[in-house]
C-alpha cells in the first residue's frame, strides 16, 4: 500500500532542505518505489555515509541496553540480618570463599576464558573445549545453512527444490528421492517420522524398530554416532547463532519508524533514523534538532 507518503517526498530531493532532508527509503516493503530503486539506493549510500558509523554504534548500544537487568545501575547488598544466619561461610575453604565473595560479572568470566585460551591455544586443557568454531560434520551431511536457506528463497514455498548444482542440496535431493516413498501423497510420507509414533491403530511390521535401526537411508553408523556424541561442547561464543544477510537469504532487513513502529519508509538526513511519513518525521525532527543542532 502506498499512503501518499511517497508523493510528499520527491525522489530527487536527497540534497537537503534547510533543517533536515528526507530521503525515500527503498526498503523491501515500499513497492511503489521499485522503479526508482537503484538510483535511490545510490543516493543513500553516498549521502548517509557519515551517519552510518554513528548509527551502528547506536544500534549496538541499544541492543546492549536490552540485555541489562536494571535500567539504572543498582547493587543490592546481601541483607545484614541474614548474614548472621549464614551457615559456615567461615568454615569454607579459601577457594570456596573466593567464589562466594567474587563479584565478577559474566563478561569478566568470559574475558578470563578467552585470555586463558589465548595463553594455551593448542594445548588441550581439560576444561576448555577443543572444538573448532565451525565443527566439521561427521558425515556427508552439510553444514550449509545458507544453502538450505537458498532453497527456500523467494516465496519460500515448500515446493522449491534444492538447487541441484549445489553438492549439499544435491545430497538432500538424492536422499529424498532414493529413500523416501515416492513423491508425497501426503499420508504415506508420515513414515518419515523416526519415532515410533506412527499414527493409526494398524500395527505395522516395523513398529518395533527403533531409531537407530530405522529405514531412513544414510542414517549414520553407530561409530559415526559415537564419534558425534563424543565431541565436547562448543564454547559460549562458538555456540552463538550466526547471521545470514544479503541477497538470497529471502529475508531482507526490515526498517521501522522510530516514532510509531510502522514501516520506516523515509530517513532523517541528519541522524539516519527511519520514519514512516511526514508526521512522525516531524516528531522525530524536534528531538533530533535538540540533539544534533541545526
Amino acid at each position: 500500500m502506498n499512503f501518499g507518503v511517497i508523493e510528499c517526498v520527491p525522489t530527487g530531493k536527497s540534497i537537503a532542505a534547510p533543517g533536515w532532508a528526507y530521503v525515500p527509503d527503498t526498503g523491501p516493503n515500499v513497492t511503489a518505489l521499485q522503479p526508482g530503486r537503484k538510483r535511490a539506493r545510490n543516493q543513500l549510500t553516498t549521502s548517509s555515509h557519515e551517519t552510518t558509523a554513528k548509527q551502528d554504534a547506536k544500534i549496538l548500544r541499544e541492543i546492549e541496553e536490552l540485555q541489562r537487568e536494571n535500567m539504572r545501575d543498582a547493587f543490592i547488598p546481601i541483607p545484614a540480618k541474614s548474614k548472621d544466619n549464614a551457615r559456615g561461610t567461615s568454615k569454607s575453604s579459601s577457594a570456596v570463599r573466593k567464589i562466594l565473595t567474587s563479584q565478577k560479572t559474566f563478561q569478566n568470566h568470559l574475558e578470563d576464558y578467552h585470555a586463558l585460551k589465548a595463553l594455551a591455544p593448542s594445548q588441550p586443557s581439560s576444561s576448555a573445549t577443543q572444538a573448532p568454531p565451525t565443527p566439521a560434520p561427521l558425515t556427508p551431511a552439510p553444514r550449509a545453512p545458507s544453502t538450505l536457506h537458498l532453497t527456500s528463497t523467494g516465496k519460500r514455498s515448500h515446493k522449491k527444490k534444492p538447487n541441484p548444482t549445489d553438492p549439499v542440496a544435491t545430497s538432500v535431493r538424492k536422499a529424498s528421492t532414493i529413500v523416501m516413498p515416492p513423491p508425497p501423497p501426503p499420508v504415506p510420507s508420515r513414515q518419515v517420522i523416526l519415532d515410533d509414533s506412527e499414527p493409526g491403530p494398524k500395527p505395522h511390521e516395523r513398529d518395533g524398530e527403533k531409531l537407530l535401526v530405522s529405514y531412513i537411508p544414510q542414517l549414520p553408523t553407530q561409530e559415526e554416532l559415537d564419534a558425534l556424541m563424543r565431541i565436547p561442547p562448543l564454547s559460549y561464543v562458538e555456540a552463538k547463532g550466526g547471521y545470514l544477510e544479503g541477497e538470497g537469504t529471502g529475508k531482507p532487513v526490515r526498517k521501522f519508524c522510530e516514532v510509531c513502529g510502522y514501516w520506516g519508509r523515509v530517513k532523517c538526513m541528519r541522524c539516519g533514523v527511519r520514519c514512516c511519513a511526514l508526521e512522525c518525521l516531524q516528531v522525530h525532527g524536534e528531538e533530533c534538532f535538540a540533539r544534533y543542532g541545526a
Binding site: 500500500m1 540485555q67 546481601i78 549464614a86 568470566h109 576448555a128 515410533d196 556424541m229
Partner: protein, 461 residues
Amino acid sequence: MAPRKSTQDLSSPPRRTLVIDNGGHTIKAGFSSPAFADPPPAPSDDSQTPQTALPLPSIIPNCLARDRDKKVYIGSQLSRCDDFNEMIFRRPVERGYLVNWEAEKEIWEHEFFDQKAALKCDPSETGLILTEAPNALPQLQTNCDQVVFEEFGFASYYRCPAPSLNAYHNIQSLFPVPRAPPKTSSPAEILLLIDSGYSHTTVTPLLQGQAIQPAVRRLDIGGKFLTNYLARLISRRQYDMRNDTYIVNEIKEACCYVSRDFKGDMERTWKGPKGDRREVYATSEGIAIDYVLPDYHKRSKGYARDHDPNAAGKLKNLTTGKSVEAAEDILTLRNERFTVPEILFNPSDIGMRQSGIAQLIWDSLSAVPFGLWPGFLANVVIVGGNANVPGFSERLDMEIRSLAPAECIVRVAKAADPIVSTWQGGAILATDVEALKRLSITKQEYEEHGAAWAARKFDGR
C-alpha cells in the same frame, strides 16, 4: 562443608533428590524420589491433561529485590511485596549462567537450608539435580561443583544442561497422534528441544537424552530482552517505564502475541498519513488493547481490556505517582503487541546481527548427520516462558516448514507446561535410581577424584 554424622551407607544413593532448574528469572525446585513414580493420589483437578499428573515444583524468583522504600526481598519473599514501582533486582544468574554465588547462596539458603525454609533439606542426605544453560564457561561450572560439594555438602549431584532433562518426558504425548507412553523411564530417542527462556533461546538436538554438543546453538534473545524492548517502546511512545520492568513484564505477558500475518497486522495498526487518520486505526480490528496500570493503591495488579477509543483523555504520567482516585492510567498498545515477540523470529528488526529462531534451528541441524534430520524435524518441542506467548509455536511450525525439505514431516509441539517442563523431566529422572546414579557424582567420589574429574564426567568424557 557440612560433614554431618554420616548415618547413610555411602554406596546407596540418597533417598530424596532435590531437583533445581536454576533459571535466570525463577528457580523451579522441588523434591523427587522413586516413590513419585507411582501415580500420586490424584489432586482433584479434572481439567488437567489426560496424562498422569506430573509433580509441580515451587517457582521461586531467583533474585534479590529492593522496593522504593529500600526494603529487600529474598527469593520467594517477593510474593509479599505489594508495590513493584521502580523495583530493582539483583540476579545471580546472568546471561543464563550462574555467575554470582554470593547472591545465589543467600537465596538457596532462604529456600532450602534455613530453619524455616519452605523446601528445607539436609544436603548431606539429599541428592541434587541442578540445571545449567548449555555452553557454560568451564570456570563457572567448576565454581558450581565446588560450592555444591564443599560449601553445601550434597550427598550426590548431577549437573546437566537444562534442555536435556526434557527428554525424560513422554514426548510423544505432546503430539496430536500420541502413542502409549514407553514402559520404562528411558529418555526420548530423538528430540529437538527449543528452550526460549528469560536469558536467551537455545536449540539442542538430543539423542537418548544426550545433547549433540557441536549442534547446540543460542540466540541472545530471551524474555528479559523482550520486556526491555517493550519498556523502551512504551517509554518512547507513552510513559517512561524503563524503571518498571516488573510491570512491563506483566504487560508483555498480558498483551503480546506472535503474529501470523506481520505485514497485515502492521497495516491494521498504522495511523495513516498526516491529516488523514485511517478508520481502521481506532480499534485496529481488535489489535488495539488497553492496559490498565496498577496504582498499588486500589489496584495492585494491572489488566488488559478492549481498547476504548474515548478513554484517551484520561492519560496521565505514571511517574508523578499521585493518583486521582477515579482516574486510571491506561496504556494503549497496538503494533507493540506483535513487533516485540517478532524479534525472536527476526532479530534484524532491531539491527541485531543474528538470525531468528527458525534459522537457528537450521544452523543447528547443519551440524547433525543428514540422516537424523527427519527424526529431529518430526520431534520439535518448545519449552521456556516465551513458549507461552500466543502464536509462538504456530509461527515456529510455519517457519520450520518453509525451510524444511518438502519430504520431511515437521511436528512442533509446545510442552504441556513450558515453564516447569525441564524441572519435571528432572523429577522423572530422579524416580529412576539406577539411571540417576550412573549420571551423578557422589560427594565421596568428588573428594577422591577432584574438581577436574567431576567436570570431565559431566562433560561426558
